[in-house]
Each structure stands twice: as C-alpha cells, then as structure tokens.
C-alpha cells in the first residue's frame, strides 16, 4: 500500500481563500436581512446614543437554511457524567444542534443575532433610504482656504523656487553621460552648470472646500411633554444627526429647549430635564433664528432645523409662530415640524400641523409620530424635501 504526503503550501491562492466569494455573498444576505428589519431596529431604544464604536446586536431573519426537521416534542438521548442522573433533573439548555457541517441532518442552531457596529448599521440605514435625488444634489460647499502646494518639478521657473539638490544631481548625470560618450574627454576639467540642469519646484494653488451643517434641535419641554414623547423626539434627532454626519464633513448640533421662553441647553439637559409651564412655540423659533444669525450664518452653513412638540401651543402665539417658522424655512435647507402624539395620549384640541399648512415653503415638512414604528417612515418623508439652495456659492 502506498501513501502520499503533500507538503504544506501556505495559502496556495485559490484554495485557502476560496470561501471568500461565499463569505461575501453571505455578508450581503445578512445586510439584506438587516435592511428588511430596519424599522424594527431603529425603534429599539438601545441604538439611540452617539458612541460610534458601539456594537449593536441585530436579530436576523432570512439567512436561515430551512429543511424538514423535528420539533420540540422530540426526546433525545444524552450521556451522564460521573454522577447519578435523576429523572426531572435539568441537564442543559435547548437542543444541541450545530452538529458537523456535512451531517446537516438537523436544523442546528442558527444564530439569530449578528453584531454590527453602529457605523455599519447607519450605513445600511441610509442605503435603505434610496434617495437618488439626494445623491445628485451637490452639497453646498464653502471655500475655506487657499493654499499653495508643491507638485512636481519644471525646468523653467523663478529663482526662489530653484531646487538646488535636484539641479546638482542633474548636472552630475549630464557629466557622467558626457564622459561616457567621449572616452577621450579630458578629465579633471571644469564642468559648469548648464541652463538645462536647472530644476524648479512647481506649485499649484489648491482650494479646500468644506461643507458644514448645523442641526438645530428645537424641542418643546413644557409640562405636557412626557418621557415617551421625548424619547420619540430624541430618536428623530439622532437619525437626523447621524444622517447629516454621513453627508457633511463637519456637523454641529444645537439644542434649544422652550416652553414659554427658549434657551440653549446641553444635550443632557435637553433630553432629561423636564420643565413645566405653557408653550410659546415662537419663542423656540426666534431663539433658533438668533443663534443661526449669530453663529451659523446661512451663507456658510447648511442649516437643518427640526422642531418636536406635542402641538399644544397657546392660541395667541400662533401667528407669531407662523411668521417665525416661515423665516426659519427660508434660511434653512430643511425645516421640519414633528408632532408627537402617542396613541392613547388623548386628544389635544390644537394641532399645529393644520395651522402650519399655511406655510408654502417647499422645504418645510410636517410629520406626525404616534409610536416608535413611525419614526423611520416619517424620517424618510422628511428627507425627501431636502433642498439645496441655488444661491449657494
């Protein structure tokens, strides 16, 4: 009987990496599955937060391999260890699937969750948006810097840009070449620089453009906004911020809380501090306008403003709010009003959505959010209105 030994070949190309294609395809399937469940995933409280490195567990359906298998009422046989085994004793968890690959005679334990980083999830999320219009639009960019950069060399140039090292080197080259060509050429003779030896730096002017965006989050913190409403608002702001981060190089965020009067607050205060009192929506808008003019001039910044409220505004404030809203819509890329009315929260007499329907600006959008599942669809509708103004530089 003969035996053949084959020596080890470190990753002989195709063999070692032949699963690459199948792995890629599997990965695509997982992404697809995530995309199908995106609305559910967004609604999960756990992803709201801004840490980039956060790993999110995402339940996956759709990558299982189905076969006819037996269900739960099937007894199995196990082996006891050293000790006695008693009837009624618990010996382990669930079915021990995941047998040998080739056996494949059991369903095995398909993993139901996969881990993706938040960044990846956000990427998938925005793939899901499928907003071709948005891609075609140019982002408004500001010319922030003009600078000169060296790029290559030329034989002609001005004196200050002379590169001495390269010039010397090219002279040496020429010298060697000449000596080789004419063997009899006298050595030791002076060999001066020639005009052709000179090398100059070439400089190009570069312009660095930057696109900046500011997200203005305005929230009603009056007594009627409870934790649930704030959570919904927060999810919305989170998505908006995340989305803009993928579009602009530099995104800043401003939080404005208002009841009867408005003030700028920190993120923490914004989401966690409740206040009481009535509501003057106009106060929030005016504060936003003030901050925008002061720090984020619309000529230099893309402004995205969003306001969340439960729509319970003082009647007398409505005209003022309308006027401010119109102005805000004019200076921002996108201005949205989200009315949060959780189901079962009762009926509020006033709804600002109706009132705001008088605003004609094309980049103004109102959405209504009733429960967690509404967030993603309403976010999508909101974004379709994005407008990049032509007056941008």
């Amino acid at each position: 009987m003969e035996t053949i030994f084959r020596e080890y070949h470190p990753s002989s190309g195709q063999r070692s990496d032949r699963s690459a294609g199948d792995r890629l395809r599997h990965r695509q399937k997982v992404r697809e599955a995530i995309r199908h469940n995106i609305a559910d995933i967004i609604a999960e409280e756990s992803i709201i937060g801004k840490s980039k490195d956060r790993v999110v567990k995402v339940p996956i359906r759709g990558v299982k391999e189905y076969r006819f298998v037996y269900g739960e009422n099937v007894p199995g046989v196990g082996q006891g260890g050293d000790g006695e085994v008693q009837p009624g004793q618990t010996v382990g968890k669930g079915k021990d699937g995941a047998q040998g690959q080739q056996a494949g005679d059991r369903a095995g334990v398909d993993y139901y969750e996969t881990e993706v980083s938040l960044d990846e999830l956000v990427e998938v999320m925005f793939e899901d948006l499928e907003l071709p219009d948005l891609d075609r639009k140019h982002l408004r960019q500001m010319e922030v810097e003009r600078q000169f950069r060296q790029k290559g060399f030329r034989k002609k140039g001005i004196r200050v840009r002379l590169d001495k090292k390269r010039t010397a080197r090219s002279r040496v080259k020429r010298k060697k070449a000449t000596q080789r060509a004419a063997v009899a050429a006298p050595r030791g003779q002076r060999f001066p620089f020639h005009k052709d030896d000179l090398r100059y730096h070439h400089t190009v002017t570069e312009m660095r453009r930057e696109s900046n965006a500011v997200v203005v989050c305005i929230m009603d913190t009056s007594g009627s906004m409870d934790t649930m409403k704030k959570y919904l608002a927060r999810s919305f702001f989170f998505l908006l911020y995340r989305f803009l981060c993928t579009r602009y190089q530099n995104v800043e965020i401003v939080f404005i809380a208002h009841h009867t009067e408005a003030r700028e607050v920190t993120e923490d205060e914004f989401f966690h501090k409740g206040e009481s009192g009535g509501t003057f929506i106009s106060s929030g808008y005016n504060k936003a306008l003030e901050i925008i003019y002061e720090r984020y001039h619309p000529g230099l910044w893309n402004v995205y403003a969003f306001h969340c409220s439960d729509g319970d505004n003082f009647e007398s404030d409505n005209p003022a709010a309308l006027k401010a809203a119109k102005e805000l819509a004019q200076i921002s890329n996108l201005f949205g009003y989200g009315e949060i009315k959780p189901l079962g929260a009762g009926y509020y007499g006033s709804s600002m959505i109706q009132y705001f329907s008088q605003i004609q600006e094309p980049n103004f959008q109102t959405v209504q959010i009733q429960r967690k599942e509404d967030i993603w669809p309403s976010f999508k509708t909101f974004l379709t209105k994005d407008r990049v103004r032509d007056d941008a530089a």
């Binding site: 009987m1 076969r67 037996y70 968890k93 494949g104």
Partner: protein
Amino acid sequence: MAAAYTLEDLQDWNHRIVELVERFGLDPYAQEFEICDYEQMISYMVYSGMPSHYPHWSYGKSFEKLKTLYDYALTGLPYEMVINSNPAIAYLMRDNTLALQVLTMAHVYGHNDFFKNNFTFRTIRAEFTIETFKAHANRVRQYIEDPSIGLEKVERILDAAHALSLQCRRNLTIRKQSEAEQKEAKLEDSKPATDPFQSVHRRKEWVSPDLAKVPLYPEEDILLFIRDHNPHLAEWEKDLLTIVHEQAQYFIPQIETKIMNEGWASFWHKRILEALDLPQDLRLEFIVRHTQVLSPHPGGLNPYHIGMKIWEDIERRWSETKPEVEKKPAPKTKSAQEKLFEVREVERDSSFLRRYLTEELVRELNLFEYQSRGNEKVVSKVADDDNWQAIKDTLIQNVGTGTIPVIKVEDSDYGHNRGLFLRHFHDGRDLQLEYAEKTLQYLRQLWGREVALETILNEKKSLLCFSDDKLTIKPIP
C-alpha cells in the same frame, strides 16, 4: 510553537503505522495526507473536505460561524479530516504536535478502512469522488457565469434544493425500481391473495390498479421526482437539482454510520498506538489526547466514546470463554477478529446499536433520555430496569438518518390540478412548523403549483397546504 518534526518523521511514523495496519488485517484504500494550516482546515470543513466544490452562500455562513467559534476558543478544530475517496485524502493540521499527528494518522486509517469495507459505502464510486465534485462545481459556475442565468437565479434553485436535498432514499443498497418494474409490481400487488378455500368462497372481484397515477409507489427522492415530473423546468434547473441530489446522496452513508465509523477509527488508533511502542513523551501525550477525544460529553453524546465502547464490548464478548457469556449467547463460531470485521461490513448505526448496545452498556455509558421543556433539557428516563430499552429505542431513532423526517411524494395530480401531495410518515415526532412552512415554500417554488403535506400535529391529522404564497393548515377528519 514550532513543530519539532519534519515531513520525513511523519513518513517514517506512517511507515510503521502501515505495517501495523496490514498486520491487524485492515484493508484501506491508498492514503494521501496533506498538511494544511488552520484556515485551510476550516475551509475544507466547510466544503466537506472537497478540494473543489460549487459556491453557495451557506458555505460562507458556515465558515464565518466556525471561524468565530474557533477564534473565541469555543470550539477546537478536528485533528483530521478524511474524505471518502480512492485514494482517501486526509488533511493534517500543521500546528499539531508529533504525537497528535501519529494518533491522527492511525485514526485516519481506521476511517479509510471503514469507507472501503462498510456496505453503506458500496454505492459510492470512491475513485470518482473528487472528479464528480469538481465536475459539479464547474457546471454550477458555468450557470452562474451564463449571462442568461446568473447568480441570483442559480441561488434561488440551490436554496430550494438544499432545503429538500436530504429527503432522499436512505438505504442506497436497495436498488431503485424502474417505472416498468413498478408497474409490474403494482399489477402483482393487485391480485387477490390465494384463498385456500377458493372452491367454496366466492371469487373476489379483481380491481385493476390505477397505473396512470404518478408515482405508483410513494417516492422518497423528492428532488429527482420534481426534476422528472415538472415539465416547466429548464435544463440547467434540472441539472442543478441533480447535482444537489447527488451530493446529498454521497453524504447519506456517512450520516448513517457516524457512531460506528468514529468508534471504529478510535478503536484502531488505540490498538495501533499501543503496538507502536512510542517513546515515553509521545506516549504520555497520546494518552492525554486520546482521553480528551474519548471522554463522554455529559449531557450530550460523544459518538467516539459510544462507538468505541461498543466495539470493545463486541471484542470482549467474542473472545471470552467464561460461562458468563452464556447469558447472552453469541454464536462462538467466529473469532473476535472475524466478528469485528464482519460487523464493520454489514451494519449501520441503527442496526449496530440495536444489536450490540446491551443493557450493561446502556448502564455503563450512563445514558438517559431527555425532553425539551421550554429552553431546558430535562431528564425523563434513566437507565434502570424499566427504561433502558426505551432509552435505547430513542437513541436508535436519533442516529443516522433517523433525525430526518420521512416524507414521500404520493400524488402529483392532487386535487386534479397537478398539485403535489406528500405524506409525512409520522413516528411520534411532530415537524417543526416554522421550518416546515419555509421548506414547503421552497417545494412550491420548485414544483410550480400547489403542494400539500399530510402530517400529524399535536396528535391531530393535519394537511399543510402551500398555495400561492401562504400556508394553510387544515385538520383532516
């Protein structure tokens, strides 16, 4: 850790092992060893050891899963992997120590011998294994590259076919009857039995069998049945079904003999290594490794352990001369050696356990039966006088192809509407409904029309109908 041995060392040891293999009377195919690293090993495992295999995302999934488990040290890799081909190809991981390689090589010869001699493997042309898989891979790739077909369409068929691939005949040594033979058999069946009192009895009326029915007898090869009876399939789709079917059939014998095969290989590697006269350091490591592999998994089943115990028991019983054996009278016409080789040839896991798993062994192995309750396994029966037989029966039900529900095609013109009617041969175990639904969906996709499956759910006869795009469950009175 740098391996302190060379290929020559391995060849040297192999030489000594082969001598012993021949002396013990084992009869393996020629053997080929290939040294690989752990990533190559994972790749081989995922593609069932084949040097070439058609692509499908499920293999990528297995790879990721295996690699993750391995990277987090949740699972070890097998020391070896052998494929049933002639010559048998085995992979050795280069990171393993010399002692482990020697053990592995001896183990591989056990498998190799089993592949060559066990009857379940007779139907497989081992000399063509590699070429067949290669040809399959080439054909599938060709379809994927064909611009009129492409990956998406191929994947759709493969996904569906994989779901049904193990719904095929289990005992391949029984020849499949041709259509003509089936017709003849059907006619034969329809004849009334010979009546010893035919002179007094009235003659029974002969009812002619419905020979137009397809299939005449329940058909277990579902993929082949679809291939042959769905006129709307394109040639490449039929070919894909054939490929998936053939590959599944290749693995049926291995599924059928897991315990025997592993037990046999372990039995012989132990025997060989004991006879090798290993130097002390290797010997100690061998003992440690051997114990690791052969130790019982509390709560689970270790096929190596169970298989080897049974083989050792057979050997003991057939070589003993003490009167104790008379309790279990074994025909003493064969020597222990002859008996072992005979059993290795003519049994499969289910028959092997049924015939050679004795009461003493059930007790010694401390086997018990469990039921799943919620998320937990709860012991329902332990090996005592009343229950050992029941435990053994449950075990037999759960080995080999026993874990695959028996589902056969009974009619291809269900409801006179060209629907496909299947029956689940229920043996007390219900189908998992979610999986059944999705699998029926695949079946519906391949068949192109309504499919119906008769089964028993919670002790009620039920009909699972998959038509258009949803499942309906109707009770059958």
